[in-house]
C-alpha cells in the first residue's frame, strides 16, 4: 500500500467499519452485501474488462453478454430479494447499464400493473424467461416530460378487431427508450387511443417489433439506435417508427380501461396507483445521487492524499495536495454532502416502503406529500451531485480528464438523472405546487403536517407580511439543531415570497397559468430551500441515532460543515431574511475553515467507509492501495493507439507531408 494512504488510515480517529454499518443500515446488511459482492468477484465466469478501450459497439456487446449472464447467475446463486439484486447488479455490471434491464424494470412491472390476468398469463412467463425481451416506449422525439403531448396514435379497427399503431409525424417517432435500438423484440408503447372517432388519451399497448428467430424488424416497423451519446455507450437507446402497424385488440393492456370488440371504450375506475412507480423510481434516484457522489469523493480524496504538488513554504518538500486549504475547501463540503445525501436516500427509501404498505391497505393519504417531496429531492440531489462530481474531477487536475480517473464516466453516467424520470425544473415546480397548496391551506386556517409543518409556525406573518419579527432564538452556529431552524426559517420565507409574488401576478394577469410561469423562478427557489431544509434536518436527526462516540464526533463535524457551507453559499438569503447577521456570516466562514482542519485527518477513513470495491470505482486514481502512478502507466500502455509502434497515419499523412511541402 502507498505510504501516504497507510499513514492516513493509521491516523484516523474512528473505525470506518462502524460507519460502514451505519451507511448500510446494520452490520448484518454490510455482511450480506459483501457476501454477494464476493460471490461475483470470486466467480471464475466474472471477467472485468476495462470498457474505456472499447468502441461503442464493443461496449454494447459486453453489456449484452453481462446482462445475459447475469440472469443466469442470479438464478444460480438464488438471489431474490430486490435489495440484494441491486447489490449484485452494481458489482456485476459496474456501470449499472444493462440493455436487457428495461425488460425487468419497466416491461414486466407495467404488464403486472396494467395487464389483465389473461394478458399476464400470455406474456409474463415468456418475458421473465427472456423468450421475449421487452422495453417501454414512452418519450418521442418531440415530446418528453409532458405526457399529454405525445402524438403516436392507436386507432381501433372493429372490422378486424385490431389496433392500428401509427407515428404520424417525425416528432412522434419514439426516441430514447433503453434497449429499444437493437436488443428488444417487444415494446410497451404509449399511444393516444382513438376508437369510434374519439380520442381517449394515452394507453399502453404491447407491440412486437422484431421477428422471433431472426430478430429482423417486422414489416411496418422502423427501429434502430439513436446514435452516440455523452455516456451510456453500453445502452442501445432506440427509435421506433410505426407505419400503420396492426396489432390484435388483446395487446392493449386492459386492467383499467378497456376497448370492447365493437370499439366501445370503458373508462378506468381510478388510476392513482400508477403514481406509485414514479415515486419509487425517483426515490431510487435520490439514493443513486448519494452513491455517485460518494464514489467521486472517494476517488478525489484518495488521489489528493497521494498526489504531492508545489510547496506551502519555500524549500520544504512538496506537500500532499490535500493539505492545501483550497483543495480541502473544494472536496470536504462535497464529502459532507455525500453523507447528507446518503441519509436523505435512506430516509426516502424507508418512507416509500412505509407508505407503500399503507397503499396496499388502501391508505393513500400520505402519497401526495411523498410524491411532492421526492420530486423536489430528486431534482435537488441530482443537481447538486451533478456539479459536485464535476468539481471532484477538476480537483484531480489533468489526470481527472483522462478516463483512467473513472470520473468522466461517473459524470456522464450520472448526469442524465437531471433530465430523465422528470426534468429537474419541472420536478421543482411540482414540489412548489404542493408548497403553494400547503401555504394556502395554512392561510385559510387549516394546519398542515409532515415536512411542511413549519408553514404553520408563522401566524404573525400572515397578518403583517413584510414585517420580519424577532426570531425565536439566535442561531447557534455550533448546533446542528439550531442550524436546522435557520434553514427552516429560510424555507418559510422563500415559500412565502413565492406565494405573495404569485398572488400579485394572479391579480395583475387575470390568468393563473400565466402568473405561474411569471413566478416560476421564485417557485423553484422556494422548492430548493425546502429541499435543503429537509436534507439538513435529516442529517442532524441522524446524529441522534449514532451510538459510537468517535463516529458521532466525526459525523457531527460533517453535518456542521454541510449546514455551514450551505449558509455560506446562500448567505444572501440568510442575510436578507435577517435570519443571521453579517458578523454571524463572518463567523460561519471562519468556522468552515476550522472544520476543514478538523476533518482533514479523517478524510481518507471517511471515504473508506463508503466501502466501494476497486472494480466499482473503475478508477486508477482512486485505488484502495493508492499505487496510482505505476498503474496509470500500465493502463495507458493498453490503449489501442499503442498497439503498433508506428501508427498507420504516419505512412498515410505524416510522411507525405514532409515530402510534399
Amino acid at each position: 500500500m502507498n505510504q501516504d494512504l497507510r499513514r492516513e488510515r493509521e491516523a484516523a480517529s474512528f473505525n470506518p467499519e462502524l460507519l460502514t454499518h451505519v451507511l448500510d443500515g446494520s452490520p448484518e446488511n454490510t455482511r450480506r452485501r459483501r457476501e454477494i459482492e464476493n460471490l461475483i468477484l470470486n466467480d471464475p465466469d466474472f471477467q472485468h474488462e476495462d470498457l474505456n478501450f472499447l468502441t461503442r459497439s464493443q461496449r454494447y456487446e459486453v453489456a449484452v453478454r453481462k446482462s445475459a449472464n447475469m440472469v443466469k447467475k442470479i438464478r444460480e446463486f438464488g438471489i431474490a430479494d430486490p435489495e440484494e439484486i441491486m447489490w449484485f447488479k452494481k458489482i456485476h455490471l459496474v456501470n449499472f447499464v444493462e440493455p436487457v434491464g428495461l425488460n425487468f424494470s419497466m416491461f414486466i412491472p407495467t404488464l403486472l400493473n396494467q395487464g389483465t390476468t389473461a394478458q399476464q398469463e400470455k406474456w409474463l412467463f415468456s418475458s421473465q424467461g427472456l423468450q421475449i425481451i421487452g422495453t417501454y416506449a414512452q418519450t418521442e422525439m418531440g415530446h418528453g416530460t409532458h405526457l399529454r403531448g405525445l402524438e403516436t396514435t392507436a386507432t381501433y379497427d372493429p372490422e378486424t378487431k385490431e389496433f392500428i399503431l401509427n407515428s404520424p409525424t417525425v416528432t412522434s417517432i419514439k426516441w430514447w427508450p433503453g434497449g429499444l435500438g437493437k436488443t428488444s423484440n417487444h415494446a410497451i408503447v404509449l399511444a393516444q387511443l382513438i376508437t369510434k372517432g374519439k380520442c381517449y388519451g394515452l394507453h399502453a399497448f404491447i407491440v412486437p417489433i422484431r421477428e422471433i428467430g431472426t430478430h429482423k424488424p417486422l414489416p411496418g416497423i422502423t427501429v434502430g439506435d439513436i446514435g452516440p451519446k455523452f455516456g451510456y455507450d453500453e445502452m442501445d437507446n432506440g427509435y421506433l417508427k410505426m407505419d400503420n402497424y396492426r396489432i390484435p385488440r388483446e395487446n392493449m393492456l386492459m386492467k383499467y380501461a378497456q376497448v370492447k370488440p365493437d370499439g366501445t371504450y370503458v373508462k378506468p375506475v381510478s388510476n392513482k396507483l400508477t403514481y406509485g412507480t414514479m415515486v419509487f423510481v425517483r426515490s431510487f434516484l435520490v439514493g443513486e445521487a448519494a452513491r455517485s457522489l460518494s464514489k467521486a469523493c472517494t476517488i478525489a480524496i484518495r488521489y489528493s492524499a497521494v498526489r504531492h504538488q508545489s510547496e506551502i513554504k519555500p524549500g520544504e518538500p512538496e506537500p500532499q495536495i490535500l493539505d492545501f486549504q483550497t483543495q480541502q475547501y473544494k472536496l470536504f463540503p462535497l464529502l459532507a454532502t455525500a453523507y447528507a445525501f446518503q441519509f436523505v436516500g435512506a430516509y426516502v427509501k424507508e418512507t416509500y416502503h412505509r407508505i407503500n404498505e399503507g397503499i396496499g391497505q388502501g391508505d393513500l393519504s400520505e402519497l401526495p406529500e411523498l410524491h411532492a417531496l421526492v420530486a423536489g429531492l430528486k431534482a435537488f440531489t441530482s443537481w447538486t451531485t451533478n456539479a459536485a462530481i464535476e468539481a471532484c474531477r477538476m480537483a484531480c487536475g489533468g489526470h481527472g480528464y483522462s478516463h483512467c480517473s473513472g470520473l468522466p464516466n461517473i459524470y456522464v453516467t450520472f448526469t442524465p438523472t437531471c433530465t430523465f424520470e422528470g426534468e429537474n425544473t419541472v420536478m421543482m415546480l411540482q414540489t412548489a405546487r404542493f408548497l403553494m397548496k400547503s401555504y394556502d391551506q395554512v392561510h385559510s386556517g387549516k394546519l398542515v403536517g409532515g415536512m411542511v409543518s413549519y408553514l404553520n409556525d408563522r401566524p404573525t406573518q400572515r397578518i403583517q407580511p413584510q414585517q420580519v419579527a424577532v426570531w425565536p432564538t439566535v442561531v447557534d452556529i455550533d448546533s446542528p439543531d439550531s442550524l436546522t431552524e435557520a434553514y427552516k426559517l429560510r424555507a418559510a420565507r422563500l415559500v412565502e415570497i413565492a406565494a405573495k409574488n404569485l398572488q400579485n401576478e394572479v391579480i395583475q394577469r387575470e390568468s393563473k397559468e400565466v402568473a405561474w410561469n411569471l413566478t416560476s423562478v421564485d417557485l423553484v427557489r422556494a422548492s430548493e430551500a425546502h429541499c435543503h431544509y429537509v436534507a439538513v434536518k435529516l442529517f442532524s436527526e441522524k446524529l441522534l441515532k449514532i451510538q459510537d462516540k468517535s463516529v458521532h464526533a466525526v459525523l457531527r463535524n460533517l453535518c456542521l460543515l454541510y449546514c455551514l457551507y450551505g449558509i455560506s453559499q446562500k448567505a444572501g438569503d440568510f442575510l436578507q431574511g435577517s435570519i443571521m447577521t453579517e458578523s454571524q456570516i463572518t463567523q460561519v466562514n471562519q468556522r468552515i475553515k476550522e472544520l476543514l482542519t478538523a476533518i482533514r485527518p479523517d478524510a481518507v477513513a471517511l471515504v473508506d467507509a463508503f466501502d466501494f470495491q476497486d472494480v466499482t470505482l473503475g478508477s486508477v486514481l482512486g485505488r484502495y492501495d493508492g499505487n496510482v502512478y505505476e498503474n496509470l502507466f500500465e493502463w495507458a500502455k493498453k490503449s489501442p493507439l499503442n498497439k503498433s509502434e508506428v501508427h498507420e497515419s504516419y505512412y498515410k499523412y505524416l510522411k507525405p507531408l514532409q515530402s510534399k511541402l
Binding site: I173, G227, K229, T326, G397, S639
Partner: protein, 680 residues
C-alpha cells in the same frame, strides 16, 4: 424566408426551408444583425475575410466533420492528421501563413479538429527561448514539416509547479552532450499533445545539471522518433496516454528517457548557456518567457474557450424555439420552451455572459498588444498587471464558460445528452480549459496576490492616488460609498451604478483578504503559512475583481457604440442582465456590509426578471450575430434553419450501430432468446 446569401448551411434537404417557428423569431429585427456581427469580428472587412475562409473550408469535402461523432479515438486522430495534411497544402497554395487571420478563421471553421497543434507552441517557445542561431536552424525544419515538434513539460507526478519537475539533463563535458533522463516513474512526461504518435522531436523541460550543480528548468530539443521510419529512438519509450474525455484529435503522449544523449547545441540558449567545458552562463532574465505564457492564455480566450460557450448558447437557444412542451394556458397550443421563465433564466444569462466575455477578451487582447509594444521598448512595467489580469480572466472565463455550456446542454433535456446535439463535445472540450495552461485555482490565487500587494501598497504609502496604481485596480482608491443609492428596479439598469456596486464589493473583499492575512501574520504565522490558511477568501476576492473587470469592460464597449443606437440598446440589455445576474448570484457579498439592503436586492431581482422577458425577444437574432456556420456548429439541434427533428432522425440512422449489423445478437441475444425454448 431564406437564409442570407453568405450563410454556410449544411446543404442538405432541410437547409432550404426555414422552420416557421424559427422564421417568426426573425420577423421583427430591432437591430441590424449584420452590424453586430461586424462589431464582434472587429470590422466589416474581418467579417468578409472570415466568410471567405469559411466558404473555402466548408466547400471542401476533405474537411467534412459529419462523421466526427461516430468515430473512436483512433479514427478521430487519423481524421485530424488527414485534415491537417490537407490544410497545409491549401495554406501553402493560398499563402496563409501560420499567424495570419486566415489561419485563425480556418481553425474556427474546423472547430479545432486538427492534429499537430503543438507545432505552434514549439515554434513560439523556440522564438522566445532560442538563440538567433537556433531559431535560424529549427524554424524552417519545422515550417516545412521535415520534423514534427511538440512541447513536453508536465510529468506524471507534476503539473502546475514547474520547479517540482524531475526530468534531468546532465552535461557531459567529455562528449559535449547532455544526458536527458527520467530518473523515476513520476518523472515520465505525461499529457504533451502530438507526442503520443506524431512527433519526431520534442522540447523537453528538464532540470539542468552541469559541473555538479543544479541550475533549474531549461528547455532541450530532444529527437524522439527516427526521421526514416518513425520508430522510437534508442532510450526513448513513448506512446499515447489513452482515452480521455475529449481532444481525441490530439495524441497526448507519455515519454520516458533513458540516458538519451543530445548535442550541447540542443539546449535553448537565449537566456542561459552551458559552455563546452561545462560552465553555466546566465544571459539575462526570462521576462519574455513569462510573457509568452501570458500570450497563450490571452489568445486562448477568443481562439478556443469563449466560442465554445457561444456555440452552446446558439444551439440551446435555437432548439428552445423549436421545441414545444406543455402549454402555459390550458387552452393554448404547446408553448416554445424559450417562453418559460425558468428556461429563460437558464439560457439568457449565459448568452449575456458569452457577449460579456467576447468584449472582455477583446479588450484584454488590446492591452496585451500595447504591453507588447512597450516590452519591445524595454518597458516591463505593465507586465505584473497583465499577468494578474490574464490569469484571473482565463480562470473566470473557463469556469463560467464550462458551467454555462453544461447548463445549456442540460437545458436541452434528453436530446442534449445525444452527441448529435453537438453539446457534449462542447462541454468536454471547454472543461479541459479549466485545467490546462494553469489550474484555475492557482491562477485565481495569482491574481489575488497582485490585488493584495497593490492594496497593501496603498496602505503603506498614505495619500497614494489613483495615478500610482495600475488602471485595473484604480478603484481601490475611489471615494468610499457606504450605501447604494438605487431606490427602485429601474435604477439598477444604469451601467455606472452597477459598475460602482461591483467595484465596491471587489474593493471590500480585497481589504478583507489583506486583513485576514495580516491578522494571521501578526499572530505569529509566517507569510506562506498565513497565505495558505486564507486562500479561500482570496479566491472569492479574485473572482469578484474579475467580475468587476468584465462588467466594466462591457460598459466601456457600450459607450463606444453611440453611433449605432439600435445595437447599443440591445447590447445594453445584455450588459444589464450580465451585471444583475452576477449581483443576484453573489447577493451575500452585496448585503454583507449593508451596501445593498434586502429591499434593494429584491429590486435587482425584479429588474432581472424583466430583462429576461426583454432579451427573450431578440434572443435568436443575438445568436445569429455570432455567425457560426452550420458545419462548424455540427449540431442536429442548432442549425440556422431550425429543422431539428428531421435532421436528428436522419443523423441517427447513419450511426454505425445501425449500419454495421448487430454482432451481439448472434453471439448472445439469440442463445438467450432460445435457451428458454428448449426448456418449454
Amino acid at each position: 424566408m431564406d437564409s442570407p446569401v453568405h450563410r454556410v448551411s449544411l446543404g442538405d434537404t432541410w437547409s432550404r426551408r426555414v422552420h416557421p417557428d424559427m422564421a417568426s423569431e426573425r420577423l421583427i429585427q430591432s437591430f441590424s444583425v449584420e452590424q453586430l456581427t461586424n462589431i464582434l469580428d472587429g470590422g466589416a472587412q474581418n467579417t468578409a475575410l472570415r466568410r471567405k475562409v469559411e466558404s473555402i473550408i466548408h466547400s471542401d469535402p476533405e474537411f467534412s466533420m459529419k462523421d466526427n461523432y461516430f468515430m473512436n479515438q483512433n479514427e478521430r486522430y487519423v481524421a485530424a492528421v488527414q485534415k491537417r495534411f490537407h490544410f497545409q497544402i491549401i495554406a501553402k497554395r493560398l499563402g496563409w501563413s501560420e499567424n495570419s487571420p486566415e489561419f485563425y478563421y480556418a481553425y474556427r471553421a474546423l472547430s479545432g479538429e486538427l492534429a499537430l497543434g503543438l507545432h505552434t507552441v514549439f515554434l513560439k517557445s523556440l522564438q522566445s527561448l532560442g538563440s538567433e542561431e537556433q531559431i535560424a536552424k529549427w524554424t524552417p525544419l519545422c515550417n516545412e514539416f521535415r520534423i514534427i515538434a511538440s512541447y513536453a513539460q508536465t510529468e506524471l507526478g507534476h503539473g502546475t509547479n514547474l520547479r517540482g519537475l524531475e526530468t534531468e539533463a546532465t552535461y557531459d563535458a567529455a562528449t559535449q552532450e547532455f544526458v536527458v533522463h527520467s530518473p523515476t516513474l513520476t518523472a515520465t512526461k505525461w499529457w504533451p499533445g502530438d507526442m503520443g504518435r506524431s512527433a519526431t522531436h520534442t522540447l523537453v523541460q528538464a532540470q539542468l545539471i552541469c559541473s555538479g550543480a543544479r541550475q533549474g528548468m531549461h528547455a532541450f530539443i530532444v529527437p524522439i522518433r527516427s526521421l526514416r521510419d518513425h520508430t522510437p529512438l534508442p532510450g526513448v519509450t513513448v506512446g499515447d496516454i489513452g482515452p480521455k474525455m475529449d481532444f481525441d484529435n490530439t495524441d497526448h503522449g507519455f515519454l520516458q528517457l533513458d540516458h538519451v544523449r543530445i548535442p550541447r547545441e540542443n539546449m535553448l540558449s537565449r537566456f542561459a548557456q552551458v559552455l563546452p567545458d561545462g560552465t553555466y552562463v546566465k544571459l539575462g532574465t526570462q521576462q519574455t518567457n513569462y510573457f509568452s505564457m501570458v500570450v497563450v492564455r490571452v489568445e486562448l480566450l477568443l481562439g478556443e474557450i469563449i466560442p465554445l460557450l457561444q456555440k452552446a448558447c446558439v444551439i440551446a437557444i435555437r432548439y428552445s424555439v423549436i421545441r414545444r412542451q406543455s402549454s402555459i394556458r390550458p387552452s393554448d397550443p404547446e408553448a416554445k420552451i424559450l417562453d418559460y421563465q425558468t428556461q429563460q433564466q437558464k439560457l439568457l444569462p449565459q448568452l449575456a455572459t458569452a457577449y460579456a466575455f467576447h468584449f472582455l477578451a477583446r479588450n484584454l487582447l488590446k492591452f496585451l498588444h500595447s504591453s507588447y509594444d512597450a516590452i519591445q521598448n524595454k518597458d516591463f512595467s505593465h507586465l505584473p498587471e497583465l499577468h494578474a489580469l490574464s490569469a484571473g480572466i482565463k480562470a473566470m472565463t473557463s469556469d463560467l464558460c464550462f458551467q454555462g455550456s453544461e447548463l445549456c446542454r442540460r437545458a436541452c433535456g434528453g436530446h442534449g445528452y445525444s452527441k448529435l446535439s453537438g453539446l457534449p463535445s462542447l462541454v468536454t472540450r471547454v472543461t479541459a480549459s479549466c485545467t490546462y495552461e494553469g489550474d484555475n485555482t492557482v491562477l485565481y490565487l495569482q491574481t489575488a496576490r497582485f490585488l493584495v500587494k497593490n492594496y497593501l501598497q496603498t496602505q503603506a504609502i498614505p495619500g497614494s492616488t489613483q495615478k500610482s496604481l495600475p488602471p485595473s485596480v484604480a478603484y481601490l482608491t475611489a471615494p468610499y460609498l457606504a450605501r447604494c443609492p438605487a431606490q427602485k428596479a429601474a435604477d439598477f439598469l444604469h451601467p455606472k451604478l452597477y459598475t460602482t456596486a461591483w467595484a465596491h464589493v471587489a474593493a471590500r473583499l480585497i481589504k478583507d483578504s489583506a486583513h485576514h492575512l495580516e491578522t494571521l501574520i501578526q499572530s505569529g504565522a509566517d507569510w506562506d503559512e498565513a497565505w495558505n490558511q486564507t486562500t479561500v477568501i482570496h479566491l472569492q476576492t479574485a473572482k469578484a475583481h474579475c467580475y468587476y473587470i468584465s462588467v466594466k469592460s462591457f460598459t466601456e464597449t457600450l459607450e463606444k457604440l453611440e453611433n449605432k443606437p439600435a445595437v447599443q440598446q440591445v447590447l445594453k440589455s445584455l450588459c444589464d442582465l450580465y451585471a444583475l445576474h452576477g449581483i443576484l448570484t453573489n447577493a451575500a457579498d452585496f448585503l454583507h456590509d449593508g451596501f445593498l439592503s434586502g429591499a434593494q436586492v429584491d429590486a435587482v431581482r425584479t429588474g432581472y426578471l424583466e430583462l429576461l422577458g426583454l432579451v427573450r425577444k431578440d434572443a435568436i437574432l443575438l445568436t445569429d450575430a455570432f455567425d457560426f456556420t452550420d458545419p462548424s456548429l455540427n449540431s442536429a439541434l442548432g442549425c440556422y434553419d431550425g429543422n431539428v427533428y428531421e435532421r436528428l432522425f436522419h443523423w441517427a440512422q447513419k450511426s454505425p450501430t445501425n449500419t454495421q449489423g448487430n454482432p451481439a445478437y448472434e453471439k448472445y441475444l439469440r442463445p438467450l432468446l432460445q435457451s428458454w425454448k428448449s426448456k418449454l
